[in-house]
Symmetry: C3
Subunit: 665 residues, 3 copies
């Protein structure tokens, strides 16, 4: 099964049989199949229907739904319903709720109302997942299981409950040989914060002022580990009772509150939920960007996450939920430009998605998401998003039918890797000045965007990934001074670019004894002797025109810097294939700097018109126009789309020379 | 009494005998009368003096105060003191406090510290009101009773107390035939939110993320119903023990947290408290508007509320508190322009006020409102506001003395009605994108303002009002798909304008099966197949120059739209006297659109200079200049004011032709 | 000792022996001495090392540290460790934590986690301070004690604990003869807020809306009195057991939550902690000011506080913590301009500091302040700040070695005094409109700044200071109508300038019976009959070009005002040496107004280039260039620095004529 997914991307949809009369199911399934849809995700919010009364399981309706969908030719991704425990669960387990940092329970009435540390709820999940896996684990229609839904959505990773407190204290006791060891590693002497015993440790919140960064990072790690363990409760059962099926979880956009790479180890494929227009208002874009990309989404928002999650499970990734029209949850919710629903689907396919699944089949006429469109309107009529998916479905099936297109879906090897380290991001954030205008994850996305504006494809990879195929490895979040990763960098053949704050912290979030970049000083002789954070309105210039903002480091080195800032501070240190870039360049300067850098490393670049992005697979070059102007493509090999692309349109080209020009006169 | 009030507007004042030495009372009363003041409101915060010790009533001082005021020729509006229970009440009823959504008690130390659902407090109110009604119900000086004070002030309608929880659960049990019925109506299946019993229902707050819109609207309705019931406790007693007296409550500006029309049914007259300068900083005006109208207030702020509350009790309304100078509670508190205190009085009279009562007689030298001016300074000297009221009083008495002025105070029939539905407003707000820059109540005021900029008078009416006298009925808040109101619209002869979101929700705040505008589709064949909300910085244009912002709908219809937006979406659908305007035009575009619309319906319009408003009564046309420039009126029939009006001045004209020009060169 | 400090300013440093291996101590001390450092502050966060286990005191290490430092020639300022009680203290005293206004405990995990009203913690402090005083009170190396650390840091003055409630009720019972008296004085009749007994009084928070200003001011006074009493617990012991040593506390910048003058009475010297770059982002400076002074700090920020704290203990003051490089706690943390670390040291000396102590010796590699630089880097190497202090140390010792420089450090008598009243500031703030853009303490600083831009030196003094040496006394915060201070003003010979709100409140925060300025009406016949607050964007002009913002008063007076605002309101009343300025002039207008005013009083002024400040001692004129441009000094007597001063440089001139010009062409 896995293999076939690889070579044949499939369209999918999210469906809630429990929301609609049973007599609709067969017709709905038939219509889906006719549109080219081949997978359907169901079940992830249905606990109150599977077990309306505690202990009384009512699976008959789900069985009929699965059979109905399967009969129509659809493969089923079955969600475990653990993100929405029914109301009676609270009577049974009044302490199951997560507690917020002010001590308030995060109550019933929406979803995700459980604490990751409350083990009696783990037992309830074990029970329902076991029952479902026994019932459907070997059903021929079931191709995959989705565990829970969007871990962390609505800020639900950390909990400050009694269960979490006990759990955290025990976790600390395992991590440190003694309380004195912990006191030393955390530097608790600083403000007489030393503990006499592990059970004196509290949460790193609700203190008079900020708590110890070591304490904060430890609690973040604990909370992330709880997600991994909670997920394992389910994957353990599913692996045993549903052999051969994919295990997947649907991650979110712009979310780093737990270590996704750690969760990935228990899954076979990563997936995520993509709402490009909603993200535009939430993910730190400027007002100009919001206006420019109002109806298309930012050109790097989807792609960055596609590449990020592709890196989680060795290239295997699905798009589990794709925006089908206006959504309900952003501060404002415009309609996508005509064509974008199809466009986003192709974009995901170009980035290697095995499944592109739209959310949701039919708009619900009630409850929280009633103003979130679906492929069908609440009255059942196909909505404009549904019409676009029909077109996409037809195109895709046609393309797949021809043997010559086999390589169109085969991923091409990227020359450049961006390393993403979740712990490192958190370590930066814990002592991140001016977080309102600068965030390390946003900076990683700006580095990504700069590459993509130059037409350069990237992989986004964890530190334990294989580095042997890359010409360039970019580090923006490897904040932790990590000796084994450092050895990998030495051993590989790539040019390695260390961006600010690399190696600036120990694993206990302190300053390394040799100062930043810690062990990475063995790559090249630089020592950070001063860091400064700067307000948004300050720009530091160099004679080359590069402009740094937000963060700059002063370096002590035996190497001569390539240039200096106007006030005399050196900038950019290189030795062999090792590079230290000691300030945060702004986006235009990143583009300039990387263009020169890539050229020197014989990586092909192309200055794309504003809002245009390309992505290469083995058998195709894909061109996406997110910009406000139409563009012209000079080439003879277009097999999807045409040479003139209006805003919101895409083309696919057979490999070979091409150029792209804006039509904005 | 009612009759006489109609034809003879009276000036009034709010007075606190308990704040001043008894020896002042007679002189104060004499001075009030001499200034033309005829009513005086007292008593509404005096509980700690009426019952200093629990159970020991001390009414003698109040009796002397009432006698003293009455002797001087003043009619008394007696307030029940239930908005300020004394400190000892808390010892008696520790659970009487409202609870905020975070679970914190809203404590003693200011006012309105009670929960509308806590019935033992109802009993305390019943006790004190009964005692007062027995003591003063038939006193010849008492012409009216004010129940409580400013229901809802300081966000006091909702309470999350145990009493409210029980009350809400019982309310739900009455509204729905069974818990299954409620689950179905609310769509609780959506996220497994189904209840097994009514006593599992909680408040629609403090959940992990937003709660069900059905749940939220139900709780809003419950809370509103509690205000009605609380008020009835008092009106029941007062009707019985004080026959023939008016029953009134003083509502507030820009406040929609309960259904004022429902409360009105137990009162004989509506009143409200008007602070034009304070409202300018609070009610969503732009910085330019705030600067332009710094010392006059926005030209539609007072008028909108005058017309709104006039619609509550069949035309009978009072201005209970009128700003007399700088207040204390806004972020900044400028002094009114010289003359505004008189001006605001005339404005209210032009809009049909029976009583115009200033707040307060004398500035208190202590406590929370010590920086709120009165008609007199804290040292007892008449303040500038008091001097202006003296002028107004003299003018008013003189005018009333002449028989020829009888019709000056008689209301003229408006051609246009704006329907206001409190439930509909709340339904919109519950799923209101971008609430920071757009609010449905603000939009209603902008529609009102556009009419008024064209010199068109409006009534603001509830859905159960008589529609037979209107040429045009405007709907902006009839969000609920309401079959009986729809029938009324069919049956009347007016042109009906449905603005965006009309009929878009069921009474359970879901989407109607036929989609928006729900049952109103029987008025004209339009179906909303897409809604989108837009950020402040996006404007959608039409070839006619009309510009929509914030909200636009896409319509499926057999009717050809009158025009289309630049991106091809149709705009404005008409069939016979039914009109559907499927986007929120901004204020200038509303003026343009309505000008054409009114002309086609033979409703006279006049383009007034900026900041100028007119209002017609049977015997007069009133001209008010709120603007920064003086204006010239061309007419021969001015009987108040003169033909050149500087900023902050008004004129009254005998009916007939006139024109107004700005003097800004 | 006191005497010698006066004539010989010393450099100092803050040091934490407990953070570093004992083998470093002697070398560290040696290096300090070699750099010119003579004092070292230690111990203030060391409780968990002095008493790791409850009741077991471990002083041996501290003894060795003290001896080691003393042996190297350093004088020791020993801090009591009461700002950081160890974790076990909470097990012993679970109720010791301060409670915030929402009822949440302010927990362990940082510092200052105690409630000022919790007396069992006073006993713990008494115990540890007694033990330390017995151990080191007569140690020859100990020259001073610092009590606790930064009272009030992180908003820790008020606490809403049970202990505080009892304490506050008892405090009220002492202040007022009876509960009826309190009710009357507070005006509790206003909203039936009258109490029957003192134990019914609650905190002035968590009510439905704002609480009584009298209640709020009383609670502020109570909270301030608790700080005084808490501090006395320690000073009583130290005076007895450590005779002859200075008693000092390190106050903060821009902090007025308790009456510093009251605390001063139990100390011998005031000190404060100065972080000019951090303060720039926090203390209400505009974005332009933040950009201009990004790396120097605002030119009046340090100086204002130097002069403020110099006024607390009759001229004796120390700079206890001086910024040494980038800090960690501001929203952004730039590096100081090269030279500023030395510059700030000289600035403090020019303002009369006896000790200038840098914070801290070596940057900690762990815990909350790991990104706060020190004089040494975390790896022990001298950082750039340390190098600058070495230069300063050498210059200072050299200067002090020459007899001719004796008067260089002797303070000169200022002609102008600015009176600062902490209670008055609070009274203004309690009813301060538009606090976001206007604050009375900021206004005091703007008045100070205007003087300083004219080259005029000021003392900042309490109301009980001697006024006999001043030509001008400026009042901006004497909000309380204070008869005895009024008599002092009458009795002195200075010109007295009453700024807005002077005398506008009684000691119970009500309006004086004669209206504002209360008793000060006996100085000149003015009566405030109207106050208005205005938004940021409104400017009121006069024909002289003066512009008022934020606050204006209308005056009733027998005196003719000097001018009128454009709308006819009179401005600026003078009679003899008494002046009433009835509006808040903005900063440029303050400069203009004061220039004329000073000239008329024969106080020499000089229009300094932007960002330049001067300060005179008996033997020197100091010139400081904070501005963005270099300046030229015309004089022949420069003994520190040179005639051309680039940004961030200073010069010292022998007394005599000089002029300063900007070099910005």
């Amino acid at each position: 099964m896995t293999e076939s997914f690889h070579s044949v991307p499939r369209l999918g949809v999210c469906y809630y049989p429990e929301h609609w009369p049973e007599e609709n199911w067969a017709n709905d399934a038939k219509q889906m199949f006719a549109m080219g849809i081949r997978t359907v995700r169901i079940g992830e919010f249905a606990w109150s229907r599977l077990e309306a009364t505690p202990g009384v399981l009512t699976f008959d309706w789900l069985t009929r739904a699965i059979d109905s969908l399967h009969t129509a030719g659809l493969s089923i991704i079955l969600g475990t319903p653990t993100a929405t425990p029914p109301r009676w669960m609270l009577d049974k387990h009044p302490d199951m709720l997560a507690i917020d940092e002010h001590g308030h329970a995060r109550g019933f009435g929406s979803r995700r109302h459980y604490c990751f540390s409350y083990q009696p709820y783990w037992a309830e999940c074990e029970r329902i997942v076991t029952a479902m896996a026994k019932a459907y684990g070997e059903h021929p229609g079931i191709v995959a299981w989705q565990t829970d839904n969007e871990y962390g959505c609505h800020d639900t990773i950390p909990s400050y409950s009694d269960a979490a407190l006990k759990g955290f204290q025990q976790w600390c006791a395992k991590q440190y040989s003694s309380i004195d060891d912990l006191n030393t590693e955390w530097g608790n002497v600083f403000w007489s914060m030393e503990y006499n015993a592990f059970d004196q440790i509290g949460f790193p919140v609700a203190a008079v002022t900020e708590t110890n960064p070591a304490h904060r990072l430890a609690f973040w790690r604990y909370s992330s580990d709880q997600v991994v363990a909670f997920n394992q409760v389910q994957t353990r059962i599913l692996k045993k009772l549903s052999p051969g099926r994919d295990l997947v979880h649907n991650y979110m956009g712009n979310f780093t509150q737990f270590d996704h790479h750690a969760v990935a180890k228990d899954l076979t494929v990563a997936s995520w939920d993509n709402y490009p227009l909603g993200f535009l208002t939430r993910d730190g874009y400027t007002e100009v960007e919001q206006a420019t990309y109002l109806r298309t989404g930012h050109p790097d928002s989807s792609a960055f996450h596609h590449d990020l999650y592709r890196g989680c499970n060795h290239g295997r990734w699905w798009l589990m939920e794709q925006q089908p029209g206006p959504v309900n949850w952003a501060p404002y919710n415009p309609a996508p430009l005509n064509g974008m629903v199809r466009f986003w689907g192709w974009e995901a396919i170009a980035h290697g998605a095995e499944v592109v699944s739209y959310f949701r089949w039919r708009q619900a006429p009630y409850a929280q998401e009633q103003m979130h469109t679906g492929l069908c309107r609440p009255d059942g009529t196909l909505d404009s998003g549904g019409l676009e998916v029909s077109v996409l479905g037809e195109e895709l099936l046609k393309l797949q039918a021809a043997k010559e297109n086999d390589t169109v879906f085969q991923p091409a090897q990227a020359s450049v890797a961006l390393v993403l380290d979740y712990v490192g991001l958190e370590a930066q954030r814990i002592q991140q000045p001016d977080g309102k205008t600068f965030d390390p994850f946003r900076f990683a996305q700006q580095v990504y965007s700069a590459c993509r504006q130059l037409g350069v494809d990237l992989d986004i990879i964890p530190t334990d990934a294989d580095l042997s195929n890359y010409k360039v490895v970019l580090l923006t979040s490897n904040t932790i001074s990590d000796a084994s990763f450092c050895e990998k960098l030495k051993a590989c053949s790539a040019h390695v670019v260390l961006m600010p704050r690399t190696g600036s912290k120990t694993s206990n979030n302190g300053i390394p004894s040799q100062l930043a970049p810690g062990v990475f000083q063995s790559l090249l002789p630089v020592k950070v002797i001063r860091s400064e954070s700067l307000p948004d309105f300050v720009q530091l210039s160099t004679p080359m025109g590069w402009v740094a903002q937000h963060w700059r480091e002063t370096i002590e080195s035996s190497i001569t810097p390539q240039t200096t800032f106007d006030d005399g501070v050196g900038f950019y240190y290189q030795q062999g294939r090792m590079h230290y870039v000691n300030a945060c360049l702004n986006e235009p300067s990143l583009v300039d700097w990387l263009e020169t850098f890539f050229k020197q490393r014989t990586i092909e670049t192309i200055r794309l018109p504003s809002g245009v992005r390309i992505k290469k697979t083995q058998g195709a070059t894909w061109v996406f126009n997110f910009g406000p102007d139409s563009i012209d493509i000079q080439t003879e090999n277009i097999f999807i789309g045409s040479s003139r692309l209006p805003p919101g349109e895409l083309a696919a080209l057979r490999p070979g020379h091409f150029s792209v020009q804006s039509n904005d006169l």
